[in-house]
């Protein structure tokens, strides 16, 4: 197992499956998944800016599956599941949204997918950077011929009245 998170969260055992999507590795389907992820994030209590960042992270993760694990094949299976989990943090036990992406492609050496300099920008090169920047925890493992990517994020607690940041 390759642990990617800078700061992995301590996940408790309780989890509740909210939604499970099965799709093929067709890039044109990503817009439909983004819509579902955005709605799921809002339903799970995330504010608009956080919901947008989760949408971006999941979109980038799926793009990586299509480009790297499936090498551009458009007919391979991908499962995306959304669960509520509880995690331990400095503030105590906290609810979080867990998104798990499963594919049957070749194992991807995520540690090699690093941010690129301006002179070496190619499609997908920034994707993992976006995922790491936006999620609390990112873990990857390859078991039984499948890749499992698990993303976890907790909603940022609301600030006291009068200090709320504006969102457009």
């Amino acid at each position: 197992m390759i642990l990617l998170s800078v700061e992995d969260v301590d996940q408790l055992n309780r989890s509740t499956l909210l939604l499970k999507l099965s799709l093929i590795s067709e890039p044109r389907l990503l817009c439909a998944v983004r819509a579902a992820v955005g709605e799921m994030a809002v339903i799970s209590g995330f504010r608009d800016a956080e919901a947008r960042s989760i949408v971006l992270a999941v979109d980038e993760a799926l793009a990586n599956v299509i480009r790297h694990a499936y090498k551009g094949a458009v007919d391979r299976p991908i499962q995306v599941s959304f669960s509520t989990v509880q995690v331990k943090s400095a503030e105590g036990v906290q609810d979080a949204l867990q998104i798990q992406i499963v594919d049957h492609g070749v194992p991807v050496k995520h540690e090699r997918l690093v941010g690129r300099a301006l002179d070496d920008v190619k499609p997908g090169g920034l994707g993992l950077h976006f995922i790491r920047e936006t999620m609390d925890s990112v873990t990857f493992r390859h078991v039984g011929g499948r890749n499992y990517l698990r993303l976890i994020k907790s909603p940022t607690p609301a600030k006291p009245s009068g200090t709320e940041e504006e969102e457009s």
Partner: protein, 110 residues
């Protein structure tokens, strides 16, 4: 995604709309490089007002356009970035690489 080009003397303005993602970013890249090659403008302006979403492959396509414009000594200006696009730009830490203005008037002036 749609990319429609207008030409104002030696300035090319590309109106881009829709989502720029893994599916559509090759189309954007091709449109940018074709305009630079075919029209040889003095300035290439990208109107992103209609862009609802952009991912890392979209940012990479914009960067490729920028690099090609620099090579051809063409000024490359963006305007009309909404909140979603700005957030992704900032996350990429490449926002300062681009010349970004508020509107088309500023983009074609000077």
């Amino acid at each position: 995604m749609q990319a429609i080009t207008r030409r104002l003397a030696k300035i090319s303005v590309i109106d881009i709309s829709g989502d720029i993602d893994l599916a559509s970013s090759p189309q954007l890249r091709a449109a940018l490089l074709k305009e630079l090659k075919d029209s040889k403008p003095s300035r290439l302006v990208l109107n992103l007002t209609g862009v609802r979403y952009i991912d890392s492959s979209g940012i990479a396509s914009l960067i490729e356009g920028l690099k090609a414009a620099r090579d051809a000594k063409v000024r490359y200006v963006l305007f009309g970035l909404n909140q979603t696009v700005r957030e992704v730009m900032q996350l990429s830490k490449l926002v300062k690489v681009f010349e970004i203005v508020d509107n088309e008037e500023q983009a074609v002036a000077g």
